[in-house]
Symmetry: C2
């Protein structure tokens, strides 16, 4: 496919200057309009080594207001970055509404340059493609415009450029032995790139191939593509503004009597049972914490539940004997103004734990399908597609080797009332109860329906929901601890089995 590209396309110097000036002005205007319309834009530069990505990025950004864009270069993942799922470093850099992010190399590294260099194992390719596709889909659904360029030059031209760079003291460091290897095996590397272009050329994020022999020609084609796309997206957004999203008619009855109504809330533990089990489990958990640190296993634990359901108490018992350097509790409040202008999953991506660490979330990304759904903070289309988006995120973490657990702390309506009143009467606990808690309580049935749907749609083998019978706090805390201990033991055993298996293969 790529070898058919006509690399002789050229533009005259004087034509270039006039066309570029005009295009720059137009792009500056579109940037301001996209900013006003709150449209985030990602421009990805990929391509063959020495195809001139740096030069082209610089020409493009000259036309932009520097207050509105960022340029990120992605080299091989650092040690720090390798300790997180592969999409982490890209997710955390996705642009806020109205901003432009220019990516010099991107998540595509994993399926071409890192693949060629042996950093992405061949058996990981299918996952990598799936992760890339769902990442771009999620951003695009949320309104991010993704523009992808592939800069192409042929083997001979690349060789010539490498030699030239190598020949000067100031630029020689830019050409690595891996670069030379990719030139030597140009055809094999080309195949990887072609596979990438084919597999990831989608309606919502299409590729544009840039013939990169003539720099002026390339610069014009790039800026024109960006202009056309931005103009198109602005038009689309304007056209959509008047239209109302049609609410999909009913048929959610099945979640009215779902999982929650079948939960046995009479489960209890005596004081002695509680003390004994708690002590034993906390000690065991502390040992396992060392073990997962040593084995570099990341752990994600989410807590959701009714107000006053006992999340705080459960988290406290879970963490009280852990080494604070190895865990973090991330409380989730209403999004702040930085978080509001990003994808709703962005702030959770920012808190993905490093390998070997535990991240506990006190309330989670499931707010999207509960409070945001019920209070109308997002559209129906948004919360409906959130189930799949969340499953994709959790599956990405699980593929990276993480333990992912989600607890729903369940109590009944009477128990909640009892606890609310107790809080109001206790001066040390009054701050815990607000008018909002009472307001939420009035919407119990709507929440129950939403929770039932959530439990059914997002409890997966790789990231299960655990409904915790919470009327008795002791029972609840012990169940949480037991579940975490079991899950960690299972994962550690799995790892040990794998390690033994590998040893056997070697032997």
């Amino acid at each position: 496919m790529l070898e058919k590209i006509d690399l002789n396309k050229k533009v005259e110097k004087k034509d270039y200057k006039a066309a570029m000036d005009q295009a720059s002005e137009r792009l500056g205007l579109l940037q301001r309009e996209c900013k006003a319309a709150g449209i985030p834009v990602i421009v990805v530069f990929e391509g063959m080594g020495a195809a001139g990505k740096g030069v082209q990025i610089n020409r493009l950004i000259q036309a932009l207001d520097p207050r509105g864009f960022d340029v990120y270069a992605f080299n091989r993942a650092t040690e720090e970055e390798q300790m997180r799922p592969f999409l982490w470093r890209f997710w955390t850099k996705t642009p806020a509404k109205g901003r432009i992010a220019v990516f010099d190399r991107s998540w595509y590294r994993s399926v071409q340059v890192d693949r060629f260099d042996g950093l992405t194992p061949e058996e990981g390719m299918a996952d990598a493609y799936q992760d890339i596709l769902s990442f771009e889909k999620q951003l695009s659904d949320d309104g991010t415009v993704i523009i992808k360029f592939f800069l192409y030059i042929d083997k001979e031209e690349q060789k010539k450029r490498f030699k030239k760079l190598d020949g000067s003291k100031e630029t020689a460091w830019r050409v690595t032995k891996e670069d030379w290897q990719r030139n030597k095996e140009f055809d094999r590397y080309l195949l990887m790139n072609e596979e990438m272009l084919e597999k990831t050329d989608t309606d919502y994020a299409p590729w544009t191939i840039i013939e990169a022999l003539d720099k002026d020609y390339a610069a014009l084609k790039i800026i024109t593509t960006v202009i056309d796309r931005m103009a198109y997206e602005l038009e689309k957004k304007k056209a959509a503004a008047g239209r109302e999203e049609k609410p999909v008619p009913g048929a959610r009855e099945r979640f009215k009597n779902g999982v929650l109504s079948g939960i046995d809330l009479s489960k209890r533990l005596t004081d002695e049972e509680y003390k004994e089990k708690l002590k034993m489990l906390q000690k065991r958990l502390s040992e396992l914490h060392s073990e997962i640190y040593r084995l570099r296993i990341p752990v994600v634990i989410g807590f959701e539940g009714w107000d006053a359901g006992g999340k705080g108490g459960a988290i406290k018992r879970l963490t009280s004997h852990l080494d604070p350097r190895g865990y973090r509790v991330n409380p989730t409040a209403s999004p702040n103004d930085i978080e509001k202008v990003h994808h709703y999953l962005w702030r959770f991506w920012n808190n993905v734990p490093k390998a070997g660490h535990i991240a506990i979330f006190d309330r989670t990304w499931y707010g999207r399908v509960m409070v945001e759904r019920i209070e109308g903070f997002c559209t129906e289309a948004e919360w409906k597609r959130a189930y799949q988006e969340i499953n994709e995120m959790e599956s990405h973490m699980a593929n990276f080797g993480a333990v992912v657990l989600k607890f729903w702390l369940h109590i009944d309506k009477d128990e909640q009332e009892r606890r609310f009143k107790e809080r109001q009467e206790n001066p040390a606990k009054q701050w815990k109860i607000t008018d909002e808690d009472w307001r939420n309580r009035a919407k119990w049935d709507a929440y129950e329906e939403a929770v039932n749907e959530m439990l059914v749609r997002t409890s997966t083998t790789y990231a299960p929901w655990i409904v915790v019978e919470g009327n008795d706090k002791h029972f609840a805390r012990v169940k949480v601890l037991e579940t975490v201990v079991d899950a960690l033991e299972k994962k550690i055993k799995e790892r040990a089995g794998k390690a033994r298996g590998e040893d056997k293969d070697k032997g």
Copy 2:
């Protein structure tokens, strides 16, 4: 000093439980009050190896609401962190108003553990102490409460604890060969710590020594210290609330006719001179950019100036031939809500360039002594101490090896009016001019006075101000480029000289 500490202090189990419960409730209350009062708190844990920092931090945070604190552990600086001035990783983690940051080791590493391990050179000690003192002073002046603990155990106890850790598979990794070395040379290491305690025990950030043999005793002393300090600071803040800050009487006349009135604005370049010089300088700058990347020299360039003074155009000419992977333009707008709850320098610390990179600031931290001073966005005491704070920050960067330059783009009032009108008449430039620009213009004299004072007080040998005659844009752009080129050449030569000097020493 430390060897005189009585390590036999103990507390009975049952007394501990009761006292700790009471203290925890009190601390929870104080945390909420400090949050409401917007007081940021830093709690630093330092001490001898195996003194139990992890255990003590965990006991302390159990009493805190997890939505209000963060724990940071500071190991040896990573490669990434070493590429920035040493305070960078601490500055970026300073708590927002109302939050608590717990630091497991801190900036003090540099003067004890890293010093012992040979990572901080002895000739860098004086700078390190000065940086630490001004860092704590700046935070403290801004309202941050700094609580510092030093956990002490003696040589024998440490040896016992190391052995115990070493004896178990799960904990052996915690004891490094450096730990053993510090135990072997306990007295030498102790001396470094005592020097640290003496040199950095200040009124605004005093040390508390914790006898750390008995964990319960230590935990109680720590929580009590934190409680007392937070209660004290709340009281102080309440008492100060009524009082008005007295404006200092006049005597700023000397800045009314200062630097700016002596600037010759008639300087001009012909079109030919401009084109020729621009081309030559941009080419040279591009070569130097490679060179500073190779030599890992960080570069900080700040732009200030009158509205329509030509900052944007100058920045564009400066960057148009640079590799975008090696520079970043940081535009400075009004602070967002995250930035507002931090020290005013915090957001600039977040953008300190890595070694080898150029950070260009389009407007800078000097906003504190210009717009914030004139519009009353900060108090008189705040902008007055800002001169020194800024000098300290720039000196810290310079000590790290950075080139630091600040440009004031100067035009006269008539020229500004001409440019404003031109912008209003040009449809492609209208967006650049707002009512605020006209309002600022009305305050020309107040700004001129502030700028004169700023130029005098913050132009230093290590970070000079360059006033650029800006009525002729061509002249201004060339002057900026020439100044940058000269400064980079000088620094590169200096480095080369140093490198040769070192070679000689070796030879």
